[in-house]
């Protein structure tokens, strides 16, 4: 079991700071989601962790830098891009080449090819691979030596829904065997199901590092929407019972925080106010993520025309 400790990672390109004093841990036995808007520094952070990019800070893999391990492929397997292969080297030869780096058997190469559903294209040149097939080959390279830690950058991009479900189950199973998995993704709904721990960054800075349950509880908000034609009488009753801070205006009624629909129904009934809609609204993980990273978005889109 390997605990990955990234400390004070920092990377700047000229005056632009891509990763700013970022520290976190990736623990074994769980899938850690790595979230952030485009350009927030997720990929750069992963490259810094692996020593591929030169910057400040240190990443320790069970207390040691990666280059002190005589056999790094058994410590970490990484998948950073779906196009990292020679276009004319067959998928099988690509994996056999990397197997030579880790003294992995040919049997294991064939196992991984089968696991990734690449048998029919194993002898083909990957230059014609779709994004999804490239992702599968990249995942195959990452898991080839059965490393203690997996680092995956947007591995679900381009995968079909069945493959995404497979990936989710596989990574959860992989982590359940006591290994560490750090996976970045923009598919928040997938992260919500897959990740046990979540690290959120924006503009290279850490915004959250907590369990997914804590993140959802802290970041998501719940309120009750009530629509009524008797606005004045219901407002008076709600403010009297719950306080002015809990009640805010909403189209055709009010949004009330910190109460149940039953409570709002009772208050409306006692105020003799007709109720046209009574809805419990819970913000999704996506809303929570957007709320948390709103200020840290470097490449925000314009409005919808």
């Amino acid at each position: 079991m390997v605990i990955v400790t990234a400390s004070n990672l920092h990377k700047a390109y000229g005056r632009t700071v891509a990763v700013d004093d970022l520290s976190f841990q990736v623990k074994p036995g769980q899938v850690t989601g790595f979230l952030g808007p485009n350009g927030s520094g997720k990929s750069t952070s992963m490259r810094l962790m692996l020593g591929l990019d030169r910057g400040r800070g240190v990443t320790l893999w069970d207390g040691k830098p990666l280059d002190l391990y005589p056999h790094a492929p058994s410590v970490v397997g990484a998948h950073l891009d779906a196009k990292f292969f020679h276009p004319n080297r067959s998928a099988r030869n690509h994996l056999r080449m990397l197997a030579a780096a880790s003294k992995t058997s040919r049997k294991r190469v064939d196992e991984v090819i089968a696991l990734m559903g690449l048998e029919s294209v194993a002898k083909k040149k990957p230059k014609g691979f779709s994004l999804g097939m490239g992702q599968r080959l990249g995942l195959a390279t990452a898991i080839l030596a059965e490393p203690a830690v997996l680092l995956l950058d947007e591995p679900a991009n381009g995968l079909d829904p069945q493959s995404i479900q497979w990936l989710r189950d596989y990574l959860k199973h992989y982590a359940a065997e006591g290994r560490s998995v750090l996976v970045s993704s923009h598919l928040l709904s997938e992260m919500e199901i897959m990740a046990d721990q979540v690290i959120v960054i924006a503009r290279g800075r850490l915004l959250a590092d907590e369990s997914m349950a804590e993140f959802k509880t802290r970041a998501t908000t719940t309120d009750v929407l009530v629509r009524t034609p008797d606005l004045d009488s219901l407002r008076t009753a709600l403010v009297a019972q719950l306080g002015a801070d809990a009640v805010s205006e909403a189209p055709g009624g009010f949004a009330i925080k910190g109460v149940s629909t039953d409570q709002v129904g009772d208050i409306a009934f006692r105020a003799n106010a007709a109720v046209q809609e009574l809805t419990l609204r819970t913000a999704s993980l996506e809303q929570a993520f957007l709320e948390l990273t709103r200020e840290g978005q470097d490449y925000a889109l314009g409005g919808v025309l």
Binding site: R47, L50, G51, L52, D53, R54, L66, D67, Y69, H71, A72, P73, V76, A78, L80, D81, K83, F84, F85, H86, P87, N88, R89, S90, N93, H94, R96, M97, L98, A100, A101, S102, K103, T141
Partner: protein
């Protein structure tokens, strides 16, 4: 280190470009040897000194220079071009051994190809009725072929690491060769001492013996070491 060498060897031999370039080198040398053998003796002319002719068809021609450079540039050229350098450096985080493993496998490959090419070239040249023993010894010929191979491999290998540009790594050594040929007549009139500092001129002076041989050897070694060191340091310092 054995895993790294095994990885590098598999990397080199698992792409068709390596085999095609090697085959083209051997065939090209054979073709040049046929041309040499065919030209000698025309109109009852000169004989064919084997050692000198072999040196010309195996190394001292632009065709072989480009193909040797192509083989040497692949070590890092393909890695940067297709992003696989990140896979390599994830598997082998210590960059120094990666550099030397690539160099060892590159030189091994180049010398294997040159040895086969020299064998084929000799076979063709020796079969000519005009073939005679040259003034140069076979040991000197073998030494010259080896140094030429090493020079162009080193230039291509280093230029590719330094520039991270595969095509430049291939044509760079040829450009240096052509520049020296074009610049030398211009420079020689005004600054006679300057050409002695050019890498290929220094090599030629070294081979030519005489007073400039030691100086030539020194300048040649300095160029090769400086380029290698530059490539090595940049590999260590830069983002992959």
């Amino acid at each position: 280190m054995s895993e790294l060498l095994s990885f590098e060897w598999r990397r080199a031999r698992s792409i068709r470009t390596t085999w095609i370039t090697s085959l083209f080198t051997v065939l090209g040398v054979a073709l040049l040897a046929v041309l040499f053998a065919g030209v000698s003796g025309v109109d009852g002319g000169e004989s064919l000194p084997l050692q000198e002719a072999l040196e010309s068809v195996v190394v001292t021609n632009p065709f072989t220079m480009v193909l040797i450079s192509s083989l040497a540039a692949m070590a890092f050229g393909h890695e940067y071009r297709y992003g696989t350098i990140r896979l390599t450096l994830t598997a082998f985080p210590r960059r120094g051994p990666v550099f030397f493993a690539k160099l060892v496998i590159t030189l091994l490959l180049v010398f294997l190809v040159l040895a086969v090419s020299a064998g084929v070239g000799y076979g063709v040249l020796a079969s000519s009725p005009m073939a005679v023993s040259g003034t140069q010894s076979w040991a000197a010929t073998a030494w010259h072929v080896a140094v030429f191979g090493l020079t162009f491999s080193t230039l291509a290998f280093s230029l590719t690491v330094i520039t991270r540009n595969h095509p430049l790594g291939i044509i760079g050594p040829l450009l240096i060769f052509l520049m020296e040929m074009l610049l030398l007549p211009l420079i020689a009139e005004r600054a006679e001492w300057l050409p002695k500092f050019f890498p290929l001129t220094a090599m030629t002076n070294w081979f030519g013996g005489g007073a400039d041989a030691l100086w030539g050897a020194g300048v040649w070694v300095a160029w090769m070491v400086a380029l290698m060191a530059q490539g090595f340091v940049l590999l260590l310092r830069r983002d992959a």
